[in-house]
Symmetry: C2
Subunit: 214 residues, 2 copies
Amino acid sequence: MFRRKIDISNPGKTAQKILTAARKTFARHGYSGTSVDEIARRAGVNKATLYYQIGDKDTLYANVIHQVLGNIAQSVAQAVVKGKTPEEKLRAYILFLADAVDKNPDLPPIMMREVASGGAHLPQVAAQDMASVITVLLGILEEGKEKNVFNDVVPFMVHAMIIGSILIFKMGTPIKDRQMWLPEDLKARDKKLSGTLGEEVAKMVLKAVKKNDR
Amino acid sequence: MFRRKIDISNPGKTAQKILTAARKTFARHGYSGTSVDEIARRAGVNKATLYYQIGDKDTLYANVIHQVLGNIAQSVAQAVVKGKTPEEKLRAYILFLADAVDKNPDLPPIMMREVASGGAHLPQVAAQDMASVITVLLGILEEGKEKNVFNDVVPFMVHAMIIGSILIFKMGTPIKDRQMWLPEDLKARDKKLSGTLGEEVAKMVLKAVKKNDR
DNA sequence: ACAAAATATTTAACCATACGGTTAAACCAA
DNA sequence: TTGGTTTAACCGTATGGTTAAATATTTTGT
């Protein structure tokens, strides 16, 4: 029978330090770019401790990605119910995701690399987390369709639009801003966001999804 | 004095084989996940040949990413001029990018990982390629604003929306379809795209950007 | 036209280091 | 003293990169 050496769902102090170090390192360098030695060094523990507390590199990564996605998957539903109309719910959904990304800056790089690799290292629990997030969106879009306020959209397309906008904008901005050689007129025409990223994405996605009768 | 061992801009037969193998390998496994030995093996040449023809891993990667982005950057402008109105131009722009991604399946994973890593391995030429693509979009949006058919949008936000939608949908779909455990009702509610990906993205982005007077 | 010399290209063998993972002993709290 | 926890040292392998020699290819002298 398989037994984890440690109960990961309620990690002790050492395990917590390791998981945090692992999360940051995986976020910065990706799965292949991260060495177990570096995680151990950043956590301030011996490499063998890391293997004792959690397990090998795969297990380490699976725990990180589930830890980071699980919270979001659990709380997205209740963040949405506050909205009365489908519009309000979709807006709340987008604001919640943008806020989650804001509060957890390690999420975007990990998610993007995971998608880029076709889910190569994606454990099933993490895939389930993602599925439950998308399911909430699907419910909102169906309700909007029934109540005749949303167009007949492709749900996964809307999902790609929301997540894609947030991730690319979030990760692309610092890259863009680092290009010192950009011509002055291009920089000058570069408008900043007036509100938050979530509000901007919500504004545009709602325009794209809503029926514009009247 | 520094001299490239080979003129990369006009690669010979061997160099071409190496670059193709490198592109595919980098696309599948990312920069860190790719070993120079594997590239050489896939190209059917000795590792030293690879170093002789092109250079070290960084140079190899830089050439791959520039080769893949350079073509797009060069041809996007002329793909857009056919459009008469800003709407037509924006539509042509999006269709062109979606088509480019279709024809070059190695581009999405490379781009996504590059953005995810904050442009860690992004050479300046590649950043310039990206900038020139975005500049075309900026021109379209400005023209639309002047002619009073587009809203006052944040250009980089629109860029993120277009690229993000295409990349996440393209790369996310196979991951989603591989989840055999998905509940039946979720699969049943999963609508397929009616047209091409580019057309769907164009439809939604145009709705998001266009002024809806009338 | 043709052999010889010069140059360009490819190769097997090699090197130092970094990697993921293990082991047995030391530490420490109950 | 027992059992959970941490550690230094170690192991086999893979990695990025180099070297000197072997093999094609082109240029040159006649």
